[in-house]
């Protein structure tokens, strides 16, 4: 047995030894508990079907090795040497809430991409733009992405998740782990578009570590599915680091769980997390935003803002901002609004001649676009990376479609 195979089996064993898959007891997962471990390990019985197997390329990168600043390595996790390189420097799953997902990932991961981005010689040059597309390779998969920005590097990542257009009618199970490491003074603007099919069950875990003076900006568009978890944890390792997240969460009769963890471990670190959830039908959307300021960390600055708006039917929206502060010298502001359509703005728009549906659509598009722009921190970049167009399409689908039926608890394929 090679080392890679042994590690895979060890990960399975660890998952079982650490108590398995008891998410229902965890506060963060109370509202949208994930499917059983067997689903994520590929052990779930698969009924026979005629659907074509998935044959996506996994991660594709454009441009590869841009201007000599990017070192890209696709690594095979079933090869011992490549597996060691793929997981090099990444923490072993700990005993935190999501350790079972991490062990399941280690047990199933077959391929990953590691990127190393260097700083451009010309500090005034526009940031490097990398297009990262992910097409599932298998119906149950655990892809890995590791991105390291060297000190001073500046980069825009456009991360999209697509389904193979040809013959893909199977539901997907995807346990994705992304590790982002920003060196001192590095800057990353990250556009994430995750629109799974209705029957897909996906969990995306982003683990970020920010060096001194590093800046991370993320705009996320996520739509609901049979199970959809987006969990982002940001560790502020260096002083004066900043992170801002702007999320738009859309769900029509499906589930969507967003969890954000901002861990302020260094002074003068700033975090901003905003989310707008629009849901209809019998959707269940949870957004749990937690910020922790550790003892001895001075002058951290925290902002959390959550808004949930039902657009039809009787969706359940759970919006939870949470602060845990262990130092007096902190600025923090958080707030949640739930269920209020901007009635005065709708009346204003109708008074200008727009019918009610158009007025509502225009205003909700605007609110959602504003969240994405706040996340990326750059209105023009939102256009460039296609964020506005993607939002337009997704929101139009949500507002115009008849409410979808709730997905079956058991997927029909895969």
């Amino acid at each position: 047995m090679n080392t890679a195979r042994a590690e895979t089996l060890a990960a399975r064993a660890q998952l079982l030894e650490q108590g398995g898959w008891e998410f229902r007891r965890l506060e963060a997962f109370r509202f949208v508990p994930p499917p059983a471990a067997a689903v994520w390990l590929g052990d779930e019985p698969c009924g026979s079907c005629d659907a074509s197997p998935l044959a996506g390329a996994g991660w594709t990168l454009h441009p590869v090795g841009a201007a000599g600043l990017v070192d890209a390595r696709w690594l095979d996790a079933s090869d011992s040497t490549q597996r060691a390189a793929l997981f090099a420097g990444l923490p072993l799953p700990g005993d935190d809430a999501v350790a079972p997902f991490a062990w399941a990932h280690r047990a199933l991961c077959r391929q990953g991409l590691r990127l190393r981005v260097a700083a451009a010689a010309d500090a005034e040059a526009p940031p490097l733009m990398l297009q990262l597309r992910h097409l599932p390779r298998e119906t149950v998969e655990a892809p890995l992405l590791v991105v390291e920005l060297e000190p001073g590097a500046r980069c825009v990542i456009v991360e999209t998740h697509e389904r193979d257009a040809v013959g893909c009618s199977r539901d997907l199970v995807q346990n994705l782990q992304i590790h982002l490491r920003l060196g001192q003074g590095a800057r990353l603007q990250h556009w994430r578009q995750v629109e799974p099919a209705a029957g897909d069950r996906i969990a995306h875990h982003l683990d970020l570590r920010l060096g001194a003076g590093a800046h991370y900006a993320q705009a996320l568009l996520a739509v609901g599915s049979a199970y959809h978890l987006q969990r982002t944890q940001v560790q502020f390792d260096g002083e004066d680091a900043t992170a801002q997240l702007g999320s738009v969460l859309l769900a029509d009769a499906q589930q969507l769980d967003q969890q954000v963890r901002m861990i302020h471990g260094a002074s003068r670190s700033t975090s901003t997390a905003r989310a707008l959830a629009l849901a209809r039908g019998k959707a269940l959307v949870a957004s749990d935003q937690y910020a922790h300021v550790r003892p001895g960390v001075e002058n951290a600055d925290i902002h959390q803002h959550l808004a949930g708006i039902p657009t039809g039917g009787a969706p359940r929206l759970v919006m939870r901002p949470q602060l845990e502060i262990e130092n007096d010298a902190v600025q923090a502001a958080h707030g949640t609004t739930w269920g209020r359509l901007p009635e005065e703005s709708i009346f204003f728009a109708r008074q200008r001649g727009l019918d009610e549906a158009t007025a509502l659509s225009l205003i909700l598009h605007g609110m959602a676009a504003a969240e994405l722009e706040r996340g990326l921190g750059d209105e023009a970049l939102c256009e460039t990376v296609g964020a506005r167009q993607a939002l337009e399409a997704a929101l139009t689908r949500l507002l115009s479609a008849a409410p979808a039926a709730a997905p079956a608890t058991e997927a029909s394929h895969g």
């Binding site: 901007p342 009635e343 005065e344 703005s345 009346f347 204003f348 728009a349 109708r350 008074q351 200008r352 001649g353 727009l354 019918d355 009610e356 158009t358 007025a359 225009l362 205003i363 598009h365 605007g366 609110m367 959602a368 676009a369 504003a370 969240e371 722009e373």
Partner: protein
């Protein structure tokens, strides 16, 4: 100036026995007045007398329960949804125009304008032509051109919001415009631009109902009539002298008549 003209079916805007309630509280008991094309009627009244309610109720704000009758060019205004009233030519300038985050001002105005044009069977105005008109209008009104590319009213000062309302008024070219304290927040240049805009639009036949407390503005507007709203009715109707009298004596001193003035 084009003289006041009645439409074939009667006055351009006719309000009869208008009664408005909100949350079981009566705000307007019975309001009667009419306005013809090119006319300008000023509505004065103490705080809480129902001036803004009158404007919002005519525009169709869903918060109000409305009875009585109101017609615009012979059409039953109260039977129309909000947007149909706007498309029929009724414009309301808001006392406190709301923000619309994330929606660019020029996109919003053009979308609304095209919606009105489509309802009249007119072709859409293209983005280039619209921008030219909007820039020219903004310049005339002293609204910085950059405001066109920003989200509607977001981060605008009070005066900029009012100028933005005036910009929409000038682009929509309504038949009847209800202006609710349009002068509040405007500086002297803004007031001058407002007066010039209104005078020009009256020449073209637009009728105005202006809610204002300020005699200086009222005098500059050369109103056709001045109405005093009191306890939910039109208590007095007169000319500029009524506005001067109210300004010098105050609302409290003005005698409230026993009955409403019909056909003001």
């Amino acid at each position: 100036m084009k003289q006041a003209e009645k439409t074939a079916a009667g006055p351009l805007l006719s309000v009869r026995g208008l009664r408005v309630d909100i949350a079981n509280k009566r705000i307007l008991r019975s309001v009667d007045f009419e306005v013809d094309a090119g006319e300008l009627v000023v509505v004065m009244g103490a705080n809480g007398s129902g001036k803004s309610t009158l404007a919002l109720a005519l525009a169709g704000h869903p918060r109000y329960e409305v009875a009585g009758s109101a017609s615009l060019a012979g059409q039953d205004l109260l039977a129309m949804p909000v947007e149909a009233r706007a498309r029929a030519g009724l414009f309301l300038s808001f006392q406190a125009p709301p923000d619309i985050p994330g929606v660019k001002n020029n996109l919003f105005i053009r979308t609304a304008l095209n919606s009105q044009r489509a309802s009249r069977g007119e072709a859409e105005i293209d983005a280039f032509d619209f921008l030219g008109q909007a820039k020219s209008g903004a310049k005339r009104l002293g609204l910085p051109e950059t405001m066109l590319g920003r989200p509607v009213n977001e981060g605008f000062s009070g005066g900029e919001r009012k100028r933005n309302e005036l910009l929409q008024l000038s682009l929509f070219k309504p038949r009847v415009a209800l202006l609710d304290e349009i002068d509040s927040g405007l500086d002297v240049d803004g007031v001058r631009a407002l007066v010039e805009l209104i005078a020009g639009m009256r020449q073209e036949g637009t009728a105005f109902v202006v809610v204002s407390h300020y005699l200086h503005l009222i005098e500059m507007l050369e109103p056709t009539r001045v109405l005093r709203l009191h306890e939910g009715c039109i208590a007095e109707s007169g000319d500029l002298e009524l506005a001067r009298s109210i300004t010098s004596q105050g609302f409290a001193a003005a005698a409230a008549p026993a009955a409403a003035v019909a056909g003001a």
